[in-house]
């Protein structure tokens, strides 16, 4: 007689009192339209439109949710909007910086001779001429590029052995001794040394040891090493730690000495991670400006000897071209050179970052499966 009837409903009981799936899109469209209208009244610009629309979207969605779903769900929606919003806000400067550098840097970079000539003999007169008479912008970054490569290379040659050996001490010999713990703590502290203080230290050290006013590429390399060593120690330490203890034990059980085990088994196993960490450390210091500013001076000519004479570098080149244009009355050519150099520097840093990832992948131990 009685048949069990499944009640026919449009929506499941579990989705009752929820905003429909399309709600965010509707609110977004409305916010964009209303935002555009408001901006049209007070004067349109894209940035303001985005901000106003985002605020309207958040208010609209949270308000609707509060009305339909209640306070708790509305708060959840508000938090989601804020979190996603903060991520978008964080992207703004990244996009803006890269865009600014690209737009301003390409003309400089495409200038013939930009990568192959130095600033030796380039005076304000040339720049005035290029602005007033339309002559091409002369001068380039060859000397700065060379200086950056030399200084960074020397800093790497100093930092990698010291940093790697320290990491080996911490992982293989430290055994949680007080000295090992002190080194770990101070390496962490060292990562926080302001770069300009590292520069001042190197300057003060060479002033005291070699003579007042000693400014060479080598002094800058020492300053960069102070910044680089803790980075190398930290990354190498992490990499050595993840080498399984079983491999060390396997080597010891074959009657292999500890130092040979470390050199022939542990380091080869971790080498991809170590190399990629070193590359990242190079990427970090290659863009440092302040320490080079106080240690290597300014140079406009090519200097291929890191141990004597002032030396230019890309970051200090950018800095001086902006702050003290070659021709104070016509700063545009200097600014063009500075942005060109900035573009080259960013490309270098990005290549190093990319290189680090490639190294990590290519040199990783192969499974052969």
């Amino acid at each position: 007689m009685t048949s069990t009837l499944t009640p026919v409903r449009k929506r499941s009981a579990l989705t009752k009192g929820q905003l429909p799936k399309f709600a965010p899109y509707v609110v977004l469209a409305l916010a964009l339209v209303v935002g555009a209208a408001i901006m049209a009244v007070i004067g349109f610009n894209a940035f303001g439109w985005g901000i106003v629309s985002a605020i309207l979207f958040t208010a609209g969605l949270v308000g609707w949710s509060a009305a339909v779903e209640g306070g708790r769900k509305a708060k959840d929606k508000l938090a989601t909007c804020l979190v996603v919003g903060s991520f978008l806000v964080a992207l703004l400067p990244l996009i803006s910086v890269i865009w600014t550098v690209l737009v301003n840097g390409l003309p400089g970079l495409l200038d013939p001779g930009f990568l192959t000539t130095s600033m030796n003999g380039v005076t304000g007169a040339f720049d005035n001429k290029s602005v007033e008479e339309g002559a091409p912008v002369v001068g380039g970054i060859y000397h700065a590029l060379l200086g950056t490569i030399q200084i960074t290379l020397l800093a790497t040659v100093i930092s990698v052995p010291v940093g790697l050996l320290t990491a080996i001490y911490l992982v293989e010999y430290g055994e949680d001794r007080p000295l090992a713990r002190a080194i770990t703590f101070f390496v962490d502290v060292m990562t926080g040394i302001p770069s300009i203080v590292a520069g001042l230290f190197a300057a003060a050290f060479f002033f005291a040891v070699v003579g007042p006013g000693t400014k060479t590429g080598a002094v800058a390399a020492v300053a960069l090493s102070v910044l680089m060593i803790p980075v190398v120690v930290r990354s190498s330490e992490e990499m050595l730690k993840i080498v399984p203890n079983e491999l060390r034990e396997a080597a010891y059980a074959l009657g292999v000495r500890k130092w040979r085990t470390i050199l022939k088994v542990v380091i080869p196993t971790a080498i991809s991670g170590i190399a990629s960490g070193v590359t990242l450390a190079i990427a970090r210091v290659i863009g440092e400006t302040a320490p080079i500013l106080v240690t290597a001076g300014f140079a406009t000519n090519i200097n291929s000897n890191v141990f004597s004479g002032w030396m230019a570098s890309l970051p200090t080149f950018i800095y001086t071209q902006i702050l003290n244009p070659t021709s104070p009355s016509n700063p545009d050519p200097s600014s063009q050179r500075a942005w060109g150099a900035a573009l080259v520097l960013i490309i270098l840093v990005m290549l190093l970052n990319l290189g680090a990832r490639l190294i990590a992948r290519i040199f990783a131990p192969k499974t052969g499966r």
Binding site: S86, V189, I193, W259, T289
Partner: protein, 310 residues
């Protein structure tokens, strides 16, 4: 097969072990020596400025009168940076750890890391050439509408090269530091706590409030402290962006100066006592950042032991 006695050594002898472990130990000690040397050489080179008669120091009123306005300026710039960067960084960290789709999360983390990869001088150039120009209308608005607040007192700088602009650039630079540390801490939140909160019917935000944020609080604090250390010592963003001057309360006028920028702007041409004065200023900066970093590391290490006990 001849049997070998156990006391016989074979292969490269024990000397290799001694040399190698000695070298590793020496490298470790070298790092301690360098840190000690940083302090020592800064002190030695700074002494002439500290003991010189007041009228010889720039400004004519002694080292203390010279240093304190730029210490205040340094703190102002760093505080602005943190006030802006901290909420955004925590939001970004939460987005990557708990909101973004799983597959995207690591890629988004890499995008934020790109922010850290851009050299500081490029940020400085961007701040000076782009941000300062774009933001100066906003300063006019602040001066006109909120000028009754001392920090927004007009007339606003026409170029936009103010300490607030420098602070915003600094905020962009410390953002990735705070983000990456907070993200790591958030990801370490015990899954059990999160699932317990969700099983009680909590929304995602309530779960974050109940489980993630309380767990991550010490981590956030130390991340902010490390960001502070970076912001205090950052040179280029300020040296290129700020048109410096005497200490002023208004954030939207030109004026104020930070220690790092003061050194960068003056050291290359300095000589004699001026060098000592600037190195002494560097020493002050070193001590401040060292203190901030040590507190941050101490909080982290305490937190590590705490979470390890669980």
């Amino acid at each position: 097969m001849t049997t070998t006695s156990l006391t016989q050594s074979r292969g490269a002898g024990r000397a290799g072990d001694k040399v190698f472990s000695g070298a590793a130990l020496a490298a470790g000690c070298l790092i301690l020596a360098v840190l000690f040397g940083v302090a020592l050489f800064l002190v030695v080179q700074a002494i002439p400025a500290l003991v010189a008669s007041p009228d010889k120091i720039q400004g004519g009123e002694g080292f203390f009168a010279y240093i304190w306005p730029i210490v205040i300026g340094t703190v102002i710039a760093a505080v602005i940076a943190l006030v802006i960067a901290t909420p955004v960084a925590i939001g970004v960290a939460l987005f990557i750890s708990h909101f973004a789709p799983r597959g995207l999360a690591s890629g988004l983390g890499y995008v934020i890391d790109l922010l850290a990869a851009i050299p500081s001088v490029v940020y400085g150039a961007w701040g000076a050439a782009f941000l300062a120009r774009e933001i100066s209308p906003a300063y006019d608005w602040l001066a006109n509408n909120m000028g009754w607040l001392p920090i927004f007192q007009g007339p606003a700088s026409a170029t936009g090269k103010t300490i607030l602009t420098a602070g915003i650039v600094l905020a962009v630079m410390v953002l990735p530091i705070i983000t990456s540390l907070s993200r790591e801490i958030f990801l370490q939140t015990p899954k059990l706590h999160e699932e317990a909160a969700l099983a009680l019917g909590a929304t995602r935000w309530e779960m974050i409030k109940m489980a993630v944020l309380p767990f991550g609080r010490p981590g956030i604090v130390s991340a902010v402290m490390l960001g502070l250390g970076r912001a205090l010592g950052e040179t280029m963003a300020v040296a290129l962006v700020l048109s410096s001057g005497a200490l002023t309360a208004s954030l939207i006028q030109s004026g104020n100066q930070t220690i790092a920028a003061e050194i960068a702007l003056n050291f290359p041409e300095a000589s004699g006592l001026k060098v000592s004065t600037l190195i002494a200023a560097g020493l002050v900066l070193f001590v401040i950042t060292l203190g901030v970093n040590m507190i941050a590391r101490w909080i982290i290490s305490r937190h590590k032991e705490f979470s390890g006990a669980n």
